[in-house]
């Protein structure tokens, strides 16, 4: 499984990538939309884990751009929202079915990754 983690909190994605790699999941990371698009342009991933709020462009728009480049790529959204009502509405608008709320449980994330890839 090859995963791209996108979040402007560098310490978060680096720690998460390390924890995933310890569990046999290859994870690269990007801290901006521009960096994420550059990485996706050069190599393919099974799925991306995107923060909903990243600078300049929101995660939902980033997903659209990534999907245009890699139509087979799957997505999981991560949010720091206390209430997820608006988030659910926004996610539904761009057709994303999967999301998790920060702080993440690594077991939940991996289970969700498997669920997404099997869907």
């Amino acid at each position: 499984m090859q995963v791209l983690l996108v979040d402007d909190e560098e310490e978060l994605v680096t720690a998460l990538a390390e924890r995933l790699s310890l569990r046999g999941i290859e994870a690269l990371w990007a801290t901006s939309a521009e960096e994420a698009l550059r990485v996706v342009e050069t190599r393919s991933f099974d799925l991306a884990v995107l923060d909903v709020k990243i600078p300049k462009i929101d995660g939902l728009q980033l997903k659209k751009q990534m999907q245009a480049m890699r139509p087979g790529m799957k997505f999981i959204f991560v949010t720091g929202h206390g209430s997820d009502r608006d988030f659910k509405t926004g996610v539904a608008e761009v057709g994303a079915d999967y999301y998790l709320v920060k702080p993440l449980k690594i077991e939940d994330l991996i289970a969700k990754m498997k669920e997404v890839l099997e869907s």
Partner: protein
């Protein structure tokens, strides 16, 4: 309660809510980082139980990261506390630099999300008597307008200058003020806040700036 007071009250609640949501989002990020670092420590312990030696430098880096995040959270909560207390008194003497510092701290995430660079000039060493919460609300709306006007990748310069009768807050380097896409400014909400503070709000496309003149010793 007249229409203007209702407008200020409703707008104020919206402003407070927006800032509280941003702060809670920041705290969630801090908790998420601490959570992942704690998870990594658990992973390292599990590996040590299986015979892999522990690297002390790795542990130091992780504990340093947790401490950094605790300091970050402490700063966020200090800002939140100051902001919460800005509603306490309708007329209080406050240093201009404190107002700017609070505004910049509160708006940091919004500035980053919009991809704008906010440069803050050394503020005038002056105190003003005002309603801090209402002033912060007005300055936030000016900054929000400035960010909408300039767009991502551009710089906004924020200055506070002492005048004979008070303080000028200046939002400078605002490109694209004359485009059709630029929002109406000052709109009713800004005008109501300006009136309540006895402040003048000037939109000056020729100078590419928005200015707020807050006169001394006026109460809301």
């Amino acid at each position: 309660m007249n229409i203007q007071e209702v407008q200020i009250g409703l707008g104020g609640v919206q402003f407070f809510g927006k800032m509280a949501a941003s702060i809670s989002h920041e705290i969630k990020n801090v908790l998420a980082i601490i959570n992942e670092n704690a998870g990594l420590l658990e992973d390292i312990c599990l590996m040590a139980e299986r015979g892999k030696p522990i690297d002390p430098d790795r542990l130091k880096r992780l504990s340093g990261s947790v401490k950094d995040q605790i300091r970050r959270a402490d700063h966020i909560m200090t800002v939140m506390n100051r902001f919460a207390h800005s509603v306490d008194e309708a007329s209080v003497s406050i240093d201009v630099s404190e107002v700017l510092e609070l505004l910049v701290s509160l708006s940091a995430r919004f500035v980053a999300m919009r991809g704008v660079v906010l440069e803050v000039g050394k503020p005038a060493g002056a105190a003003i008597t005002t309603f801090p919460f209402v002033l912060l609300n007005l300055l936030w709306l000016c900054l929000d307008y400035a960010m909408a006007v300039v767009g991502p990748g551009k710089t906004i310069e924020l200055l506070a200058e002492k005048t004979g009768d008070g303080v000028w807050f200046r939002f400078c380097k605002l490109e694209n003020m004359e485009t059709d896409a630029a929002p109406l400014f000052p709109a009713e909400r800004e005008a109501a806040l300006g009136q309540a503070l006895h402040a003048q709000i000037l939109r000056d496309p020729a100078a590419r700036e928005v200015r707020v003149l807050l006169a001394q010793r006026r109460n809301v």
